[in-house]
């Protein structure tokens, strides 16, 4: 007899374990995804991407005000009474529109814009998402 037999006594597992396991196996195999369902889902996703609307979406991680160079605290140049920000002539109209839209967005969302999606016109978006080189707006917005 083993020395430890008196210490660790074996327990009986609850009855019906095998039946439950078999039921779970049968349930899992019944709901296994079929290959044609996956294929049709992938095809539908590709088709949707191909005919997606033309507007561009920017996923923002910070408040929208950051896009136009607003400070974290207080208002921007207009709110603080400082000199108004000058935008390059090449895209001044679009960027003015952008600043107005971003402010409206922030006011509407009460500055909680983490993970939100902002729809922007393609012209403004191209200024913002340019790699930096050659984009005067990009430099100004930082």
């Amino acid at each position: 007899m083993n020395q430890s037999d008196r210490i660790l006594t074996p327990l009986e597992p609850p009855p019906g374990g095998w039946e439950r396991l078999r039921a779970r196996r049968n349930l899992a195999s019944r709901w296994a995804p079929s290959w044609w369902a996956l294929a049709s889902g992938a095809a539908a996703a590709m088709a949707w991407l191909a005919i997606a609307p033309g507007h561009t979406q920017i996923r923002m991680q910070l408040t929208a005000g950051r896009l136009i160079g607003e400070r974290s605290r207080g208002g921007g140049p207009a709110d603080s009474g400082k000199r108004a920000r000058h935008f390059p002539a090449v895209c001044g109209r679009e960027c003015t529109n952008l600043r107005r839209r971003v402010r409206e967005f922030d006011a509407r969302e009460d500055k909680v814009t983490v993970g939100r999606i902002v729809d922007l016109p393609d012209t403004c978006q191209s200024h913002l998402t340019a790699s930096g080189a050659g984009s005067p707006c990009r430099r100004r917005f930082r």
């Binding site: 430890s4 210490i7 660790l8 074996p10 327990l11 597992p13 374990g17 779970r24 196996r25």
Partner: protein, 173 residues
């Protein structure tokens, strides 16, 4: 020598019937909850079933033990994290739930054993429980845990001694 791949449903059932009790006893001393132990066993055997075409019958035992060991450790870690965040001292402070034979006369002894096993280091507890419940040889345990053969015996003896002294210490209080 080539070995046949694949496990049939009959072999899967036979494996479950053969290993249910030892695996249950092993995992129960890790998570101390009968329902969770059953979940762990079923998870492990579902994994075996999913991979049945790539397994060899002769190594299915070892695969089942390894899976249950890993799942038990994972569940135990999750419990420890939960209790740490709640501010509890350790799992030993908790009562074992769902003990199948937890009648009133044995509950005191059970609580002592529970606390004593919980105080064992992981390396000793694992070897002790495998040696006690798995019915595996020391060679198989050393392969399963990737430790030298002699270490299995020494860890088991050390675990038993610690368990006994802990039980005596707590019983004499």
């Amino acid at each position: 020598m080539t070995r046949a791949l694949g496990i049939s449903e009959a072999e899967w059932e036979a494996l479950y019937n053969r290993l249910e009790k030892p695996l249950y006893n092993f995992a129960y001393r890790y998570v101390w909850n009968s329902q969770e132990v059953q979940d762990i066993l079923h998870d492990a055997f579902m994994e075996l079933w999913v991979r049945r075409n790539r397994l060899i019958v002769s190594t299915a035992d070892r695969y089942a033990w390894t899976t249950v060991l890993n799942l038990s450790r994972k569940r135990r870690r999750w419990h420890r994290t939960k209790h740490f965040l709640r501010g509890d001292d350790s799992l030993a402070a908790l009562r074992a739930t769902g003990a199948p034979d937890a009648d009133a006369s044995r509950s005191q002894q059970y609580a002592l054993l529970h606390a004593a096993i919980e105080r064992l280091p992981e390396t000793l507890r694992c070897v002790l429980l495998l040696a006690e419940f798995s019915e595996m040889s020391y060679e198989s345990i050393s392969e399963l845990l990737s430790i030298p053969l002699g270490t299995v015996g020494s860890r088991r003896n050390l675990a038993l001694n610690q368990l006994r002294s802990e039980l005596n210490r707590r019983g004499s209080r």
